[in-house]
């Protein structure tokens, strides 16, 4: 039995199970962790598909950065405990599941009509990346997709600034009058004016 097959048939079920777990579990934190597992399995899939660079990036960026951010926010907001399960839109779940099943069926049909369930990956992939996957990807990226690369870097900067601005507590200028009020109270030595949260 070829190694690829074994790896696939081990990690694919794990991935699906993790996804199911993410949907089912009551705790938000557990959901995030299940998702991390899922990301890991997908990273392995990348490896099987001869995309070593993406395997690494997936772990570093997704599992390492994005999910950590998620967990930060979950903890910060303290929403891990509150999660009411009662569903007001009682049709939502059944229809969603039906549609999802229908979707999967459609994908299967499309695959059967398109590439068929027996097509194997062609052999010549190694020839594309004589010096390794990373080098090959780098070549394509910096040669053919240079402009999108630069644009994406600008996008990242913008996103970072946007996040800073959005998450900022609003600070407004405190007027002398308010300062004067506080001090005139006599109860404190320092003025402390309440600003908007």
């Amino acid at each position: 039995m070829p190694l690829d097959d074994v790896v696939f048939w081990v990690f694919a079920p794990i991935a699906i199970a993790a996804a199911v777990g993410m949907l089912v579990t009551r705790s938000v934190v557990y959901a995030a962790l299940f998702l991390v597992v899922n990301f890991g399995c997908i990273a392995v899939m990348y490896l099987v598909l001869d995309a070593a660079f993406l395997f690494a990036v997936q772990i570093i960026v997704y599992a390492g950065a994005i999910m950590v951010l998620f967990l930060f926010v979950i903890m910060l907001l303290g929403v891990d405990r509150i999660d009411v399960r009662s569903e007001r839109l009682w049709l939502q779940r059944p229809i969603a599941i039906v549609l999802a099943v229908g979707f999967v069926v459609e994908v299967a049909t499309a695959l059967r009509a398109g590439i068929g369930f027996a097509t194997h990956a062609p052999e010549g992939f190694d020839l594309l990346q004589p010096a390794g996957n990373t080098q090959a990807v780098a070549e394509v990226l910096f040669r053919d997709y240079f402009f999108p690369f630069e644009a994406t870097s600008i996008l990242l900067i913008v996103a970072a600034i946007a996040a800073m601005v959005l998450a900022q507590r609003k600070v407004r200028a405190v007027t002398q009058a308010e300062l004067g009020e506080e001090l005139a109270d006599g109860s404190e030595d320092e003025a402390e004016v309440e600003v908007a949260p």
Binding site: L23, M45, D50, L54, L77, T119, V137
Partner: protein, 101 residues
């Protein structure tokens, strides 16, 4: 590699469907966001599978860009969620019902 590519694509499809169900069912904004990430990953998997099928590295590059942009998106999205929470003290999406008849 002996595994038919279609299997990878089916896996991606199943994961995408499950991600969609997550988006539709959950009320917690963070869980919805996580389901969206699941969807994005499924799509990335599709891209890489096709790259392998067609011997074209462009699929991998596109998946790479998708990841980068997804990262940026998560940053901004979480910032928004935080800012909403500060205002409304909840991240239940059903609570935001103002745009209705």
């Amino acid at each position: 590699m002996r595994t038919p590519i279609a299997y990878f694509l089916m896996l991606a499809g199943i994961l995408f469907a499950m991600g969609t169900v997550g988006v539709l069912i959950n009320r917690n904004a963070l869980r919805i966001f996580m389901s969206v990430e699941l969807q994005l990953n499924a799509v990335n998997l599709t891209l890489v599978s096709f790259a392998r099928l067609h011997n074209d590295l462009g699929g991998q590059v596109l998946a790479f860009f998708s990841m980068v942009v997804a990262a940026a998106e998560v940053v901004v999205g979480l910032a928004i969620i935080v800012s909403i929470y500060r205002r409304r003290r909840t991240i239940d999406v059903d609570a935001a019902r103002e745009m209705r008849w």
